[in-house]
Amino acid sequence: MADTLDLLWPVLIPIMTAALAACFWHNIRAQRIVSFIGLVMLFAASVKLTMTVVEHGVIAKQFGGWAPPFGISFVADPLAAALVAITGLLALAVGIFGFYDVRARHERAGFYPLFHGMITGVNGAFLTGDAFNLYVWFEVMLVTSLGLLVISRSREQLDGTIKYGVLNLFGTILFLIGLALLYGATGTLNMADLGQILPGMTLTPGLMTAAMLFLAAFAIKAGLFPLFFWLPASYHTATFAVGAIFAGLLTKVGVYATFRTFTLLFLIEGDTLRYVFTFIAAMTMITGVFGAAVQWNIRRILSFHIISQIGYMLMGLAIATPIAWAGASFYIIHHIIVKANLFLLAGAIRAAGGSDDLRKTGGLLKSHPWLAVLFLIPALSLAGLPPLSGFWAKFLVIDASLRAEYYGLAAVALVVGVLTLFSMMKIWMEAFWKASPVKPSRRRYVPVAFIIPIVMLGAVTMTIGLFAEPFVTFAREAGDVLVDPPLYIAPVFGAEAAAEAGALIAGEAIDADAIENGADNGVEEEVQ
């Protein structure tokens, strides 16, 4: 029983926090307290979910007592659970960062309800087992993120939000059209059900169109090669806290949806699709890293690096061997932490040096040496230097591509790694090493609220890097579920078999006991 309830809290807690914060619209202090309590609870709930998944394997919950293909199901496999846990951690870190960064006028404009609403959308998208429900979570995430992006209503933000909004709205419409075609062809939108039906069907033009529409829609969301232009056009205009949570989470939801779609629904078998993915992955890495090379604004550099790093994750999809999936899963988890940390550091650099434009700042190594150390941890991790988390992430995906004889892709990944190092060194040289072009009129302090989350995330990066073993094992499990769809389907439909056997339970939400019964019935042995 407790098992499947764990699935609900990561979505319920933020949505309740958002509602409660909205109730205290004119009482900013109450909103702050509600928000922080919500973030701590969310973090605890998401860690608990991950521990349950580690212990019990994939878990599923049906809503409203409907039998599996008809109602909405929530499913947590290791990858989804890990992403929810990272979301909880990141939300907490950004929440602490926000104590200083979020201004009173942002709070009056509804920062807390929007922030928690966005977390709801992100967690919902990770956990849902229903394709249409995924669309709904995407829209929840989109509309709240639009509100967060434009929260200062400055000229830059309005401009950036229009670009971000139009392209992402177009992406979700493509997704909706794909859903309509898929439903017309199969008659179901439950992902586990689709996972059973679709492999047996011949790939009609309608289904192929649906698959490609999904790919295009998620490519816009994830910022893949030809469709990433909204990302560097908007992320640098957000406030620093918002920018960090966007950089960490939003594109990764798109990556997760791509992974889910092309492992569970449409299997990558033919060479054509593999060539497409290989090409997209390589081009995403290359364009991202070269786009960053010319920039001077720290967050614009980092925005382009998001794109380039997404390419590494997509390598998993292109190679599609178990070890590649493990590598890609590890990569996503490592990347969310590192990238969000770098965006937070951009805020700290601005606080310390007066600007996030590298041409106007400098000399921070002398004035804030500890900030330099904190910067080097995520920066070198992003570039993939040992012993940090990025090294293992890159090692896993490149190792997978060499084993599968994708030498070109491996070469691109290595070269892009070097170029990433170049960009990080550019920030280092300009912001920390060179003398400041401006004589600082006073000593600038970085607020403690900035340092705590940066240290927190840096510590996680170091932990993953130095004690990689358990994380790699976990990523392997995540990869195994991605490779083996029955592992994902079993908890959903094992429960149904149990419900048929004992129709009495049907009124209640189908719980873990029912899943166990299903396992006893010999439907699936994987579920303990």
């Binding site: 639009l146 309005l158 229009i162 419409i173 908007s234 001077w296 604004n297």
Partner: protein, 158 residues
Amino acid sequence: MTFLYAAAIAAYSGCGLYLMLSRHVVRVVLGLALLTNGAIFLIFFSGRIGSMTPAVIPLGDQELALDAANSLPQALALTAIVIGFALTAFAVALLVAAYKRLDTLDAREMTAAEDMGSPFLPPEGRPVEKAASGKADAGQGDQKMTGQNTTGEVKTNG
């Protein structure tokens, strides 16, 4: 009937896409709204129209009539309509705010975000000699030029 329906969806989506290609952002939002409607019609159609029997279990019966209409696409379409409405409302509000602040609805003149920390423009605040490097790379002519003009204005304002 099916053909008519398909033609209607095609017309909707075609008009939507055409409007989206405009540089006038109000047209873009109208195009998005039309395209959403096209998608909603498609969802509705994917449940197969034809059956006129309402999806209601008659009094005394235990299960739905075999030829009952499929009610799921209606539920999906309703959800999509609500979401589409909310997002269109947001987009229109965004455009109003943008028009007030940016004084334009032409996508070509909306360069505020692009100019923020642009490598092709000198950083705001104080002149830096690196401005020359922007000139060397100004391969993409017009757009860069308009970008520079607008920041010029911004600077005198601020």
